[in-house]
């Protein structure tokens, strides 16, 4: 190891207030047991505790610097614990960094109260008028708890998302929303007016606020400002600070406000670093270490080096901010947790084997989780859940992936592998995706056809990107509830009546059609293969699409141009990684489509009744991927109201906490759930009994 690295490592160890592991007595009473179990443990790939030479130690060790890990780290640090956060990526933030920054909490939280009182924020940034009536903002934790556990609510997919929520979890959630909102505000997070509620954030009151920073000359978290360059320039650039363009926040704060997840993730990261949290980035957790595999305390983790490099110049990717980083490049390290390990490692949306437990057709590896380029190949890989299972954890809420519309869907962004995250050049990972994507409004689908891996249409293109919202405020028939807005009644059998379900059921089936076995699918996995939007020059000109870089890439294999349809099919076949078979029928499909346009009707998929049809005949011809995304995932480690992980016997695994998408039992989209979990986990982990 280079002297410089040794030095960095030493500094890091010093900073986390070392304590002698042997003296702490972890081995007392278990030494004999380890001798007899270590052989078995080794055979199972489990590290024998007594043989471990710990490289680092801290009171609380957190896996994942996202929207569970960062609040947990700050909270534990606030309560006096030393904290190490590891993350598999080169930069903290996780999925939170590319999110919309929308946080639904409620139960009478400080922002609901602020809006009720007609007040702004102390800095004077929030001057926009209140968006809801006082009645729409008035509630208490009991009311919020009932909303999140209301058995009677059916969503537009005829699922009952809240019925399956873990009561203990949601009681704790309702009781901690106030404190979490306050905690965020005390850690440089600015939020605008309350506006509606997230999908599955409850149907009875408005609870959502979006995070913002004010556009200014320079980025200064303490002052609440972001430079124009960091906030991004529409249609041109995003930045390392904000991988997605920050949006206009005039309506929720005031003119000059720029919103999205960067205005949440960066302030939390800034605060964590300022308070002395240590970060070991480029570090993937491979194992949670328990005294014995299925008993005793969790005492630490094993983690491997996971650097990422720019594919164009080979340079290693570096975090935006460096203070508090421990730059350790050793292949394997062991980190001891004196009090607790917190799993905030994200979900399983990018692990095809794991997600196919719920839906076998999702074994297709072509399709990724949102933030694929940002998070890298190991983001959302279910490793937190799998590591928990290896030390005996139970699972919860595994069926809830199927009941929320954004879990998997078509975001409608062509020519990119990651259609959810519309990143522009400027972020260090842009070159990994190569293209922003052609973001089409739904109406624009009238100008194209969509085909499967053999070149056949499979659905009415106008319906492909439609999806229903999750059960959320304001309630109403479109979201599965019979009554609108404040007229929604909690725990009312009419919500789940057959009449209501019949009236609202509108499951969009395009995603299922796209993933279906088709003529190119082969045993054993019968992968569906990629999905292609096919269009011509006339469509591009008629509907004013920008198909030039950075929206498309001539080299990333997600966009092709050809003089003829036959040549287009051949280019796709040879140039796209997941195109495993020829698009045998593409020319025939286009010819058939043109004959349907001439006739004025589409007997195969009923196009033409809502929008006009257009021939695809003017060269050059184009193919762009239309990929679905597995955005967020539900189902994961079972936790209790203190965010402690529960084992197969219903007992707490001592010293192990989890939250966010690594945990299950709460079907709620967005950041609110994970932030509250992090706050709760940090609170209890800091006070956990020492070994």
């Amino acid at each position: 190891m280079a002297a410089k690295q040794k030095d960095r490592k030493r500094q890091g160890q010093k900073a986390v207030s070392r304590r002698d592991f042997v003296k702490s007595g972890a081995a007392a009473g278990v030494g004999a047991a380890v001798l007899t179990t270590s052989g078995t443990a080794l055979a199972q790939g489990v590290s024998p505790v007594n043989a471990i030479r710990w490289n680092y130690e801290a009171d609380v060790v957190i896996i994942g610097a996202g929207c569970t890990g960062l609040p947990a780290a700050i909270r534990a640090r606030d309560l006096g614990a030393s904290v190490i956060v590891i993350d598999q990526n080169f930069d903290p933030g996780g999925k939170m960094l590319h999110s919309g920054g929308q946080i639904s909490l409620g139960g009478g939280d400080p922002l609901q109260k602020r809006d009720i009182e007609g007040k702004g924020d102390p800095e004077g940034f929030v001057t926009a008028p209140r968006q809801h009536s006082i009645a729409e903002l008035t509630e208490d934790p009991d009311f919020l708890f009932r909303d999140h556990t209301d058995w009677s609510v059916m969503d537009a997919a005829a699922q009952a998302p809240y019925r399956y929520n873990e009561r203990d979890l949601h009681r704790a959630y309702a009781d901690n929303c106030y404190a979490t909102r306050e905690f965020l505000m005390a850690n440089y997070v600015r939020m605008g007016r309350v506006s509606g509620t997230h999908g599955n954030g409850g149907m009875s009151r408005a609870r959502r606020a979006v995070t913002f920073l004010m556009e200014g000359a320079a980025t200064d978290i303490k002052k609440g400002t972001v430079s124009t360059k960091d906030a991004g320039v529409a249609g041109k650039s995003s930045s390392h600070f904000a991988p997605r363009l920050m949006e206009d926040g005039t309506m929720v704060a005031s003119k000059g406000a720029r919103t999205n997840g960067a205005a949440l993730a960066r302030p939390l990261e800034f605060s964590a670093r300022e308070k002395g949290v240590k970060f070991i980035l480029n570090r993937h957790m491979d194992e949670i270490i328990r005294e014995q595999q299925f008993s005793g305390r969790v005492v630490g983790i094993r983690a491997s080096y996971s650097p990422r490099f720019d594919p164009q110049n080979g340079a290693q990717l570096q975090s935006l901010w460096q203070n508090g980083n421990i730059d350790d490049r050793t292949e394997t390290i062991y980190i001891r947790a004196r009090k607790a390990v917190i799993i905030g490692a994200g979900g399983h949306g990018a692990n095809p084997q794991f997600r196919s437990m719920f839906y076998p057709a999702w074994r297709e590896p072509a399709f990724v989780s949102s933030g694929w380029a940002l998070l890298g190949p190991r983001g959302q890989d279910a490793s937190g859940i799998i590591a928990g299972m290896r030390v005996g954890a139970n699972l919860a809420g595994m069926q809830q992936n199927l009941s929320y519309a954004s879990t998997f869907h078509f975001p409608g962004n062509l020519a990119t592998r990651d259609p959810y995250t519309d990143m522009l050049p400027g972020h260090p990972t842009f070159s990994m995706r190569g293209s922003t994507g052609i973001n089409l409004a739904n109406d624009s689908y009238q100008h194209l056809i969509v085909v499967n891996q053999v070149g056949k249409r499979f659905f009415n293109e106008m319906l492909i990107t439609t999806r229903q919202g999750g059960a959320a405020f304001p309630a109403g028939p479109g979201k599965g509830q019979p009554r609108k807005g404040l007229d929604h009644v909690q725990l009312d059998w009419r919500n789940a009546s057959a009449e209501n379900i019949r009236a609202t059921y509108s499951e969009p089936n395009s995603i299922h059609a796209a993933l279906a076995i088709n003529e190119g699918s082969k045993a054993p996995d019968f992968l569906s293969g990629p999905i292609w939007a096919i269009f011509d020059r006339a469509a591009v000109e008629r509907d004013h699409w920008n198909i030039e870089p950075p929206f498309t890439s001539p080299t990333n294999g997600f966009f092709f141009k050809a003089d003829t349809i036959q040549e287009l099919a051949a280019k796709i076949r040879s140039g796209h990684e997941f195109q495993r078979v020829p698009l045998t029928y593409l020319a025939e499909t286009v010819a058939k489509w043109n004959s349907f346009v001439d006739k004025g009707s589409d007997p195969e998929f009923a196009r033409g009744s809502d929008v006009p049809m257009h021939r695809i005949d003017t060269p050059p011809f184009y193919a762009a991927t239309l990929y679905p995304v597995w955005h967020d995932s539900y189902g994961g480690l079972r936790i209790n109201g203190r965010a402690q992980v529960i084992d197969m016997q219903g007992e707490v695994i001592p010293g192990l906490y989890a939250g966010g998408e690594s945990s299950g039992g709460g079907n709620q989209h967005g950041l609110g759930r994970a932030l509250v979990h992090g706050y709760i986990a940090g609170t209890h982990a800091a006070k956990d009994g020492t070994s």
Partner: protein, 215 residues
């Protein structure tokens, strides 16, 4: 070129030819002349200038013969020709074709000293309609600020038009029942069933399509 195992092994002296046909009017009045574009290329990008091609009607009768100019269609290597044709005298949807016959080209560079360009053809639809007697005037505005929308696409199948700078499109149609569509980028398509029994005016107020929220 496709180098995948499924692709046929190319014979260097046998060149594939592709034909594309476009800009065919969506409704052509009986007996009237109309123009369309034909693009033809060799997969090996040979110069096909002066190559002859024919247009054939639904019965296989050649209705036109033309030769390819040296000119290429922008963004492609297709030789592009504009041809003028005459619509049949009877209303119907016809399937016509463009055909380029097999040709030989003497060369010194190929092993056999000769390149063979294979025969190729493509079908296209020709919608022939009676003389439309009524004028439908469509006025298109933004539903919010009532601003005229220019460049909007007006479709009353098979008739099509584009709105002018004042948001007005005039579509000459035959008597009958239509679904009048007006579509414009970033707006929700306007659709209205109309019964045309004389000259008429329709007003299309288009709503901006809501942006999908990503959170």
């Amino acid at each position: 070129m496709d180098s995948s195992p499924e692709a046929p092994i190319p014979n260097p002296a046998n060149h594939a030819v592709s034909v594309v046909a476009w800009d065919i009017p969506s409704a052509i009045v009986v007996g009237e002349k109309f123009r369309m574009k034909v693009g033809i290329k060799c997969a090996n990008e040979c110069d096909l200038a002066n190559t002859e091609f024919g247009i054939f009607d639904e019965s296989g009768t050649q209705v036109s013969v033309a030769t390819l100019p040296a000119e290429r269609w922008p963004g492609t290597v297709l030789h592009v020709a504009e041809v003028e044709l005459e619509a049949p005298a009877k209303e119907a949807l016809y399937t016509w074709s463009v055909k380029v016959r097999s040709t030989s080209l003497k060369t010194n560079s190929e092993p056999e000293g000769e390149i063979v360009h294979a025969e190729e053809s493509i079908n296209f639809g020709v919608r022939v309609v009676g003389r439309p007697e009524f004028m439908v005037t469509v006025e298109t505005v933004d539903a919010g600020d009532q601003r005229p929308l220019s460049g909007a696409r007006v479709v009353m199948h098979p008739y099509r038009a584009i709105t002018d700078e004042g948001g007005i499109a005039k579509v000459r149609v035959a008597k009958g029942t239509y679904k009048l569509f007006v579509s414009q980028t970033r707006y929700v398509t306007f659709g209205l069933p109309v019964e045309v029994e004389g000259d008429m005016t329709a007003r299309a107020e288009l709503d901006v399509e809501p942006v999908t929220e990503r959170n």
